[in-house]
Symmetry: C2
Subunit: 263 residues, 2 copies
């Protein structure tokens, strides 16, 4: 009996050891396209994959972001300008990727571009506030994916979509949580559809990180409160706004501390 | 021991009996605003609440829908025309509701208006296909809610949002599942925000029902396939389209049968 258990345990650890020593071969011949490389996760990923020898195709929203990234990386890494809310811009980027990868196809598509929204109750906002976030985080991600899929299919590659823990739990109001819930839905149906083509779809669900997604969030919170209707201001009160500002500030400080800790 | 168990059981049934005989008082003085009353759930609900004596304010997309509903109901029920994708139309409907309810406020807001999408893989679609569904099912619902909330708060009422079982499991591609996932996120954060105001937020997650949301779905499926790129047509093949059409037809037949069974 004990011998069987021991044999099973050894077998389990052998399998695990074997699986974990598998590494992807020929990294220098693989192409990965990443959106939102100006800063944050996209920027970090582009730099890291570049040091591993992967052929990184980085899409930035701004020319400054692209220039800074180019300066900090090897000659292999290429950049382009991409606004994920514009189908024309996506079509142009797709042509650029197609020319870059040639017959090899796209081994990886990382949909990272996204915007945040301040920690406010829903009622302080307008439809436009929701729309602006959904247009980037959800519809932009979908549009980029639909354009790039033929190239990913050719390489039997993978799609990695940036969701969030806020795609499972709606902690606060505004468009961010609905957009990330939507990313979860899109990614899950896409994952099942692409299995027959040998294409994998994964999501990443980060917690709180002090990336530039939180930039100017206190100022944006203040301008939202200033624009709220008098009815809303009366119902929630100045005290509620002060509390929101405090929570935003605390959350930011916590995230910045965490960033220092995790390097 | 057995006596304790018996006492506990009796106590449980007494509590249940007491809870279930609670009914809402003064129904004839309560106002409920329902969107999407042309057909389906919205139409059924408007008729049922009208027979119970509630003051129903029905929003229809078409004049014909409004006329038909008026003919089938009492003089208490009022109708208006509303396109939930237009903020101007929502603002006009809000003014109309405000005038109708006076100081009483809105006891119930039922966000029912929605559109469906055919059972297709994501890759057959364009960004516009996703956008058209999200604009009605998610952004329209949010916009109506934001406009009506001051009236709901006045009556310490309730908001009922039409989600779907497809707001928890993304069975197929297109904008429907992401839009309903988004409704779940919005409703959950709203629910917590409105507790201090004595306003309740609920969601309904129906399974498959043969409402008019599935109208012309086979024709729409065909036109989507016809418009798909040659690359997509080659990858998926005519056989896959035939299978999709078959599944759509079967699902519809199943839903129609169910409708007959449940009356």
């Amino acid at each position: 009996m004990w011998l069987y258990l021991l044999a099973l345990l050894v077998f389990y650890f052998l399998c695990r050891w074997y699986r974990e020593r598998q590494t992807v071969k020929n990294l220098t011949e693989k192409y990965v396209f990443i959106t939102g490389c100006d800063s944050g996760f996209g920027n970090q990923l582009a730099r890291q994959l570049d040091t591993r020898g992967i052929r990184v195709l980085s899409a930035c929203l701004t020319q400054k972001g692209a220039d800074d990234l180019k300066k900090a990386t090897s000659g292999r890494l290429k950049t382009t300008i991409l606004d994920v809310t514009s189908t024309e811009s996506i079509a142009a980027a797709t042509e650029w990727v197609k020319e870059s990868v040639g017959d090899k196809g796209l081994w990886g598509l990382v949909n990272n571009a996204g915007v945040g929204s301040p920690l406010t109750p829903n009622e302080w906002l307008t439809k436009e506030d929701f729309e602006n976030v959904i247009r980037v985080n959800l519809l932009g991600l979908i549009d980029v994916t639909l354009h790039m899929l033929p190239l990913v299919r050719r390489a039997r590659g993978r799609v990695v979509n940036m969701a969030s823990m806020l795609g499972r739990l709606a902690f606060f109001g505004g468009g961010y949580c609905p957009s990330k819930y939507g990313v979860e839905a899109f990614s899950d149906s896409l994952r099942r559809e692409l299995i027959p083509f040998g294409v994998q779809v994964s999501i990443i669900e980060p917690g709180g990180f002090a990336t530039s997604i939180g930039q100017n969030i206190k100022e944006r919170l203040k301008s939202i409160w200033n624009q709220a209707s008098s009815d809303v201001k009366e119902a929630y009160g100045q005290q509620c706004f002060e509390k929101c500002r405090e929570v935003t500030q605390d959350t930011h400080l916590q995230m910045e501390k965490k960033m220092v800790c995790t390097g």
